[in-house]
C-alpha cells in the first residue's frame, strides 16, 4: 500500500483516498465539520485545512505590514488545502498541526462562532457539540466582534421529527447531503449567501422521508434537533451501551444512550458497521427504543379476562409446568419468536425436543415497507436466528397455529414473545384451550389470549444475539437492569423444563451458543 506522512506519522492509503479519509481510517481525526465518511465531499467548512510541506509549495499572495517602511508590502504565505478534498499521494508530507494550520483552524473556528447565538445552556447538542470541542482545542480566544450578531429563524419545524435553528447552523450541508445521498430525497437545500445562508425545505414539502433523524445525527452542531429527544436529557448525564436495532431484519448496530440514574433509555444512535448499516439507521429503527417502556409486563399473571390476577414468580413456573404437563406431548404447540434472541429461541427449541412436542411454530410481525437502502421488508430482527435455533428450514406460522387449534390438533401452547402478525380477534380460538402459556416482555395479542403469562427480559436487559438478513449473527450485552424478579426467557424456559423433569443442559448464554454451533455443525 502506498504511504504518506501526516505530522511525521506514516499513513497508508488506497489509491484515490483523500488525506482526511486515510487519517480517519488510521484513527487520527483531522478537525472537520462538513466532511463525513459516508457522504460526498463538500469542502465548505474549511476546518480541515492542512499544509502540504513536500513538493513544490503552493503560495498565496498577501500584504504584510512592514514596520520599517510603515506600509503594507506584498508577500506570500503558504496556501493551505482542505484535507477532505486533497487526494493522498505517495510520499506526500502533510502537516495538520504546524503554526500556519493552527492559525487557520483558529480563524475558521472564530469565523464560525462570529454570529453563533449564546445557546449552549438551552441547546441539546451542548456536551457533544463540535463547535465546543474545537473551540477548546483549536481556538481559545474571546470574542472580538462587538456588533450585534446576525439573527435568523429559530425553532423552524422541518417535519414531524426535526426542528431547525438557523442561527446555530454552520452551513456544512451534511443534512442536505444525507437527504440526497442516503434517503435519495432532495427535500433540503440552501438559500442565500454569506451570513444570510440558511437551510430550507423544498417548496410544499416537509422533511418526512424515512431517514430524517439521520439529518440530526450528522449535524455537527445544534442546528437540527430531533423533536423526540429535544429538551429531554442532558447528554453528559447519559451513558452509552451497544445494541442491535429490533426494527427489522437488517439489524442496524446502535448506541443505546441511557440515563443510569433512572434506568431509562433516551435515544438510539447508529453505530458504524461497514458490513451492515454503514453509518445510518432509519427513523422507525431509531424510535424502537420507545417500545421498551411501553406496555411492559412486570409480574406473572394467571387467568383470562376479568379473572386475570398476578401471581408469584415461583408459582408461575410450577403453574406453567402443570398446565403443560396436562397436555399430551404430541398435541403441544411450541411457538418461537422472530423478536427474541437466538439464545431464547434455542432454549425453547430444546424444551420442545425434550418434551417431544408435536408442533413448532414461529410468531413474527407481518412486515413493513422496506426499501433498498437499509429497511428490510421483514420487520422481525431475528427470524433467521429462530429458524437456526429450531434446526428446520421453515416453521409454521401463527395462522396455522390457529387453524391447528381449531381442528384440535393442538391442545396446549407455550409461546415466546408478544409479536404476531395476527390481531387479538384472530387469535381468539386459543382462548378455548386451558393450557396456553406466554413468555413475554410486553403485553400483546399472544399474551392476551394466554392463561398464564410470565414476564421475561427485554432487548435492553439481556445478553444475546440476532441473526440478520445477511446471516450475520450480532451479539449484544445488557444495558439496563431488568425489573426485579424478571429473568431472560432462556432462564425461565430452563426453569419450566426443570419443573417438568427435564434438564435442558445449559446454564449460561455461552453454553447456549456452544450448543447452537454444535447443532449447526451436526446439521452440516
Amino acid at each position: 500500500m502506498p504511504k504518506f506522512k501526516l505530522d511525521g506519522r506514516e499513513i497508508s492509503f488506497e489509491a484515490g483516498e483523500t488525506v482526511i479519509q486515510a487519517a480517519w481510517r488510521a484513527g487520527i481525526e483531522i478537525p472537520h465539520y462538513c466532511w463525513h465518511p459516508g457522504l460526498s465531499i463538500a469542502a465548505n467548512c474549511r476546518m480541515c485545512l492542512v499544509h502540504v510541506t513536500s513538493g513544490r509549495q503552493m503560495a498565496m499572495p498577501q500584504l504584510e505590514f512592514d514596520e520599517s517602511k510603515g506600509e503594507y508590502v506584498p508577500s506570500t504565505k503558504p496556501k493551505l488545502q482542505p484535507a477532505c478534498q486533497l487526494a493522498a499521494a505517495e510520499d506526500m508530507e502533510v502537516s495538520s498541526t504546524n503554526e500556519e494550520v493552527k492559525a487557520a483552524q483558529s480563524s475558521v473556528q472564530e469565523f464560525l462562532l462570529l454570529n453563533h447565538p449564546v445557546d449552549c445552556p438551552i441547546c441539546d447538542q451542548a456536551g457533544e457539540c463540535k463547535l465546543q470541542d474545537y473551540y477548546y482545542e483549536h481556538q481559545g480566544t474571546l470574542k472580538r466582534k462587538l456588533t450585534e450578531p446576525v439573527h435568523k429563524p429559530k425553532g423552524v419545524r422541518f417535519g414531524p421529527t426535526i426542528v431547525y435553528d438557523a442561527e446555530r447552523c454552520i452551513m456544512c450541508t451534511r443534512c442536505i447531503r444525507v437527504s440526497d445521498e442516503v434517503a435519495k430525497d432532495h427535500v433540503l437545500d440552501m438559500r442565500e449567501r454569506g451570513n444570510r445562508n440558511e437551510i430550507v425545505l423544498a417548496p410544499g414539502r416537509e422533511l418526512d422521508h424515512k431517514y430524517t433523524l439521520m439529518t440530526e445525527h450528522v449535524c455537527p452542531v445544534g442546528a437540527l434537533t430531533s423533536s423526540d429527544f429535544r429538551f429531554k436529557a442532558r447528554v453528559w448525564f447519559l451513558k452509552s451501551g451497544t445494541g442491535v436495532c429490533t426494527g427489522c431484519a437488517t439489524g442496524c448496530n446502535t448506541h443505546v444512550d441511557y440515563d443510569p440514574r433512572y434506568g431509562k433509555v433516551y435515544r438510539l444512535r447508529p453505530r458504524d458497521n461497514a458490513e451492515v448499516n454503514q453509518f445510518w439507521m432509519c427513523d422507525d429503527g431509531m424510535m424502537t427504543y420507545t417500545r421498551h417502556d411501553q406496555d411492559r409486563l412486570e409480574a406473572p399473571t394467571r387467568g383470562r379476562g376479568a379473572e386475570r390476577a398476578p401471581i408469584g414468580d415461583a408459582e408461575a413456573i410450577t403453574s406453567a409446568a402443570e398446565l403443560l404437563s396436562n397436555v399430551e406431548a404430541s398435541k403441544l404447540g411450541i411457538v418461537l419468536s422472530g423478536q427474541h434472541t437466538t439464545e431464547d429461541n434455542l432454549a425453547l427449541a430444546k424444551l420442545a425436543t425434550a418434551l417431544g412436542a408435536g408442533h413448532v411454530y414461529l410468531a413474527a410481525l407481518g412486515g413493513w415497507d422496506g426499501d433498498d437502502i437499509l429497511r428490510s421488508d421483514d420487520n422481525n430482527p431475528n427470524r433467521a436466528g429462530a429458524l437456526a435455533a429450531s434446526g428446520s428450514e421453515a416453521l409454521k406460522s401463527t395462522a396455522e397455529l390457529v387453524a391447528d387449534v381449531q381442528t384440535g390438533t393442538v391442545q396446549g401452547v407455550l409461546a415466546l414473545g408478544w409479536a404476531t402478525t395476527e390481531r387479538l380477534e384472530e387469535l381468539t380460538p386459543l382462548v378455548s384451550l386451558e393450557s396456553v402459556v406466554s413468555l413475554t416482555s410486553h403485553v400483546g395479542a399472544l399474551p392476551a389470549v394466554a392463561a398464564l403469562t410470565i414476564p421475561v427480559a427485554d432487548i435492553f436487559e439481556l445478553e444475546g444475539s440476532f441473526v440478520n438478513r445477511q446471516g450475520i449473527a450480532q451479539s449484544f450485552t445488557p444495558v439496563l437492569d431488568a425489573p426485579l424478579g424478571v429473568e431472560p426467557a432462556w432462564k425461565a424456559i430452563a426453569a419450566i423444563g426443570k419443573a417438568m423433569g427435564h434438564d435442558l443442559g445449559f446454564d449460561s448464554v455461552a453454553a447456549l451458543r456452544e450448543a447452537l454451533s454444535n447443532q449447526v455443525e451436526a446439521a452440516q
Binding site: 472564530e110 462562532l113 453563533h116 447565538p117 449564546v118 445557546d119 449552549c120 445552556p121 451542548a126 456536551g127 463547535l131 465546543q132 473551540y135 477548546y136 481556538q139 481559545g140 480566544t141 474571546l142 470574542k143 453528559w236
Partner: protein, 405 residues
C-alpha cells in the same frame, strides 16, 4: 486484695515489682490538636516509649481530588493546613501551572507572595500563641491571636473568606488585589512587629516558660535531616533549608530576607525561629508591596485555563463555551507527571501530580510537611517527662488536616 498486715509480714513483698505504665493520650485530648493518639510507656513521669498514631483525621484528600476537575481541588487544598490555607492554594496553583507549563503574570506572583506570607504570619502566631497557652500563659495567646484576627480581616477583605479562602486559581487568582490592600498592609505590618515584640517581652524572660522550653524536646540536626524534617522544625535544629531560598519559586529570589536557624533544636529554638520568621515575612511583604506592578493583568490570558468574565459568559458564545468546557470537563492538562513544592507554614509542601491528559487529576499525592515533622516527634520526646509532651508537640505544629489528609 491482701490485707495490709499480711503483706507487712513478708519482707520480700516490700520490694514492689514495678513495670511501666501504659497510658493512652488522645486522640481526644485537649493537647493533641489535630486528633493524634500517643500510646505512652511511662516510668513514673518519664517517657520510656512513645507510639505515635496519626490518621484520625484522614478524609481521603488525595482520592477526592481524582473525582473533580483540577480547579475543584482548591477547596480541598484549603483544608490541608487550614491555619495557612492560602499557602496551600498557591502550592496547588503552582503545581498545575508547572504541568501546564505556564507562568502567571508578575502582578499575580507578587499578590500570591503577599497573601501567602500573611498566611504564614497567621500560622506562626497561632502556633506560638497556642504553645504559650498550653503552658498556662493565656494572655500571650490572646495577644497573638489578636493579630491573626487582623490578618484574617485583611484576608477577608481580599478574598471574601476569613479562613478557607479557596482563592487560588489555576493561571491566576480569583480576583485582583483590592485598591485598599496597600494602605491596609501599611497599617497592619507595624502592628505585627509591635505585637511580636510585646509577646517576647511577656515570654522570653519568664522563668517558668524558659524552663519548659529550653533543653526540652531536642531534635539534633542529624535526626532532623534523617527524618526529612523541613520548615521551622528543621531550621530550629540548625538545618538552614527554606524552599523560598534554596529553590526560589515565583518572585522570591527578588527579596532580601534571612532564614533564621536555631542551635539546639529544642522547643525554644523552634519557638524563636517562628517569631523571627514572622519578622522576615513582614520584610518580604514590604518589599513585595514596593515591587508589585500597580496595574496589569492578574490572570493568564487564556480562556481555556482561566474562567472568562461572567459578563462575557452571558453575552458571547466563545466565553460561554469556555465556561461550559471548564465546568463540565475541566481544563485539560498535558499528559505527564510533575512534582512541585513550596514553603508551606510547616515546611516543604509538595504536590506530586499525575495527569492522563483529561480534565481530572489521575493521581494527586501530597507531601505534607507535618507528616515528617511528626515522625521526628518520638525522637524529641524519648526520655523526657510526660509534661514535656505538651510544649514539644505544640512546637511541631502538627495540623491534622495536612498530616492525615
Amino acid at each position: 486484695m491482701e490485707p495490709a498486715d499480711e503483706l507487712l509480714d513478708d519482707e520480700a513483698a516490700l520490694e514492689l515489682p514495678t513495670e511501666p505504665m501504659r497510658l493512652n493520650m488522645g486522640p481526644s485530648h485537649p493537647a493533641m490538636h489535630g486528633t493524634v493518639r500517643m500510646v505512652l510507656d511511662l516510668d513514673g513521669e518519664k517517657i520510656l516509649n512513645l507510639d505515635l498514631q496519626p490518621g484520625y483525621l484522614h478524609r481521603g484528600f488525595e482520592k477526592s481530588c481524582e473525582r473533580g476537575t483540577w480547579s475543584q481541588v482548591f477547596p480541598y487544598a484549603d483544608r490541608l493546613n487550614y491555619v495557612s490555607p492560602m499557602l496551600n492554594n498557591v502550592g496547588w496553583s503552582l503545581a498545575v501551572e508547572k504541568l501546564l507549563e505556564i507562568e502567571v503574570p508578575e502582578r499575580c506572583q507578587y499578590y500570591r507572595v503577599i497573601l501567602g506570607e500573611l498566611s504564614r504570619i497567621a500560622d506562626h502566631f497561632t502556633c506560638n500563641g497556642a504553645s504559650a497557652m498550653e503552658l498556662g500563659a493565656f494572655t500571650p495567646f490572646l495577644w497573638l491571636l489578636k493579630v491573626r484576627d487582623w490578618i484574617w480581616d485583611l484576608l477577608e477583605k481580599e478574598t471574601g473568606a476569613r479562613m478557607t479562602h479557596s482563592f487560588g486559581r489555576i493561571g491566576g487568582m480569583a480576583a485582583p488585589p483590592t485598591d485598599t490592600l496597600e494602605d491596609d498592609l501599611k497599617a497592619l505590618l507595624p502592628e505585627v512587629h509591635r505585637v511580636v515584640k510585646e509577646a517576647e517581652i511577656m515570654l522570653i524572660r519568664n522563668r517558668i516558660f524558659l524552663d519548659r522550653m529550653q533543653g526540652v524536646g531536642v531534635l539534633t540536626k542529624e535526626n532532623a535531616l534523617a527524618y526529612g524534617c523541613t520548615g521551622p522544625v528543621a531550621r530550629g535544629s540548625g538545618v538552614a533549608y527554606d524552599v523560598r531560598k534554596d529553590h526560589p519559586y515565583m518572585v522570591y529570589d527578588r527579596f532580601d530576607f534571612e532564614v533564621p536557624i536555631g542551635q539546639d533544636g529544642d522547643n525554644w529554638d523552634r519557638f524563636m525561629v517562628r517569631f523571627e520568621e514572622i519578622r522576615q515575612s513582614v520584610r518580604i511583604i514590604e518589599q513585595a508591596m514596593e515591587q508589585m506592578p500597580k496595574d496589569g493583568p492578574v490572570n493568564v490570558d487564556d480562556p481555556r485555563i482561566v474562567f472568562p468574565e461572567k459578563d462575557d459568559v452571558y453575552t458571547t458564545i466563545e466565553a460561554t463555551i469556555a465556561h461550559f468546557k471548564l465546568v463540565m470537563e475541566g481544563l485539560r492538562t498535558p499528559k505527564g507527571e510533575v512534582y512541585s513544592f513550596t514553603e508551606g507554614g510547616n515546611g516543604e509542601l509538595g504536590f506530586y501530580i499525575v495527569s492522563d491528559g483529561s480534565g481530572t487529576p489521575y493521581r494527586v499525592r501530597v507531601r505534607p510537611p507535618c507528616w515528617y515533622n511528626l515522625s521526628a516527634c518520638r525522637e524529641m520526646l524519648m526520655g523526657d517527662m510526660i509534661a514535656d509532651i505538651i510544649p514539644t508537640f505544640g512546637s511541631i505544629n502538627m495540623i491534622g488536616g495536612e498530616c492525615d489528609r
